[in-house]
Amino acid sequence: MARLFEMESLSASYGGSLVLENVNFYVQEHDFIGVIGPNGGGKTTLLKIILGLLKPVGGTLTFNNELLNSNSIGYLPQISTGDLNYPVTAMDIVLSGLMIRKKVISRMTSEDKRKASTVIEELGIKDLARSPLSELSGGQLQRVFLGRALIGNPRLLLLDEPGNFVDSTFENDFYEKLKELNSRMAILMVSHDVGTISQHIKSFACVNRNLHYHPSHEITNDDLLAYGCPIQLITHGEVPHTVLKLHN
């Protein structure tokens, strides 16, 4: 499978301290990678580097320009970034996912609005299209922001802690939705909540300053083992779980 982007001995610093060091990592078409690791370990920084919000201090990040450019990345940030009392509708938010292709002068065409309606319908929130954000529940907001990430038909979808604001009734739907999307795009999902991470994830990247990649063939249902990332797995007996090998 073709690679979408590749990081070579990449280092990044945030607020003066080195957060990522000597990271070698690539993402291929149709990958579904769970990015896990402790808080402050550099998971979000990894996304910021891919989004171009942060420049690496060392090493390189190379995009496969035929498959991926900054226009074809969809991004679902942690929910805390926007002001949820701000007077915008769900439709407005989904449309904002198209801003990346627009110049500074940015009118939304009827074609744009049709696209937004399709995405909104696909996510099952058609009735809420004209509702202000302040009237939506956590799960509904989740879908609206996912719609913003999807409207541009991305080749790569970046999800930052999507479990944080999913209500439990929507959680299964959400992960099913991701599985379906994965047939169209590669997904990189950041989560510290390993216990409920999607079972559809094909491989893992452990980020704690360094990045350890665990390809799918390495993943087995072996006994619970402590591994390099200081994470506790909290699961109920019936929940399927995945245990990764120790880092060397």
Partner: protein, 279 residues
């Protein structure tokens, strides 16, 4: 005859002033209120009083001095908050008092009596010149065009700045330009409502609109309408009762806000919360 021509001129001026004040205050106010910049705007307003004082002292039009002070302080606070170098509310608090202090010192140092000082503090339609009205008219056109052309960019940057940075490298420049326009709008409206009251002219109309709608452009439209009703009614009351216009306008706007709030509460009681669906 002379009397009626004078009255006619006076009424036209007041009416135009009300139209332009409500358009500029509606557009700027919606931005200020939805971006939660009310306190910052208070700081800008009072800082610009320093420019009024210096304008008097060196003998230029005080509005120009106020505009320079207003825009510089707005850019300064935006810059500092982007850099996270300083606690924003403290910076605004300092700016607020410092501007007033400079204004008072320079007006005191200006030789001769300054008859218009009260009109700058509390607003007075009597001292509003044709040039002031024209400036507000031009500002209305500029703001309408600016919001029409850049509506989406402004909307999305105000909503979620960090997401906007993922697709645009113009986020900071937009914030600086928009905030400068807000500062200029505030300064031009000082002639109508005065330093002390102008902030309410910006913030009450959007809050009236937000009782009934949570959609940005509808808030703008209803703010302009509410602002015009309040300004025109306040102007007429002030003229017939012989009381200061700025204070009367703000008083009228607050009464409209109370009535609107009361109506929405009654509707909620009658039909339940879902019966008053925000549109």
């Amino acid at each position: 005859m002379e009397q009626s021509i004078f009255q006619y001129d006076f009424i036209i001026k007041g009416l135009l002033g009300a139209v332009f004040a409500s358009i500029t205050a509606g557009l700027a106010g919606t931005y200020i209120v939805s971006r939660r910049m009310v306190f910052l705007s208070g700081g800008i307003t009072h800082a610009s009083f320093g420019g009024i004082g210096i304008g008097y002292f060196i003998g230029i039009n005080p509005v120009i001095g106020a505009a320079v002070f207003g825009i510089l302080s707005a850019l300064g606070v935006e810059y500092l908050s982007v850099r996270h170098k300083i606690r924003e509310d403290s910076a605004i608090g300092i700016l607020w008092a410092f501007g007033m202090a400079i204004g008072i010192i320079f007006i005191y140092l200006t030789p001769g009596y300054s008859p218009n000082l009260m009109s700058y503090l509390f607003g007075s339609i009597l001292t509003v010149s044709n040039a002031d009205i024209a400036a507000l008219g031009i500002m209305s056109v500029v703001l309408i065009l600016y919001f029409l052309i850049f509506y989406r960019a402004i909307l999305y940057i105000s909503f979620d700045e960090s997401y906007a940075r993922t697709y645009s490298s113009y986020v900071d420049i937009f914030k600086y330009i928009t905030t400068s326009l807000m500062a200029l709008t505030i300064v031009l409206n000082i002639r109508m409502a005065g330093v002390v009251l102008v902030l309410s002219l910006m913030t009450i109309p959007p809050n009236i609109a937000m009782i009934f709608t949570r959609v940005y452009f509808r808030i703008v439209l209803w703010s302009v309408v509410a602002g015009f009703v309040g300004t025109a009614a306040g102007y007429i009351i002030s003229y017939s009762a012989g009381i200061p216009v700025g204070a009367t306008i703000i008083f009228t706007l607050v009464i409209i806000w109370v009535i609107a709030k009361g109506i929405s509460q009654v509707l909620i009681k009658m039909r339940g919360r879902d019966g008053v669906k925000k549109f």
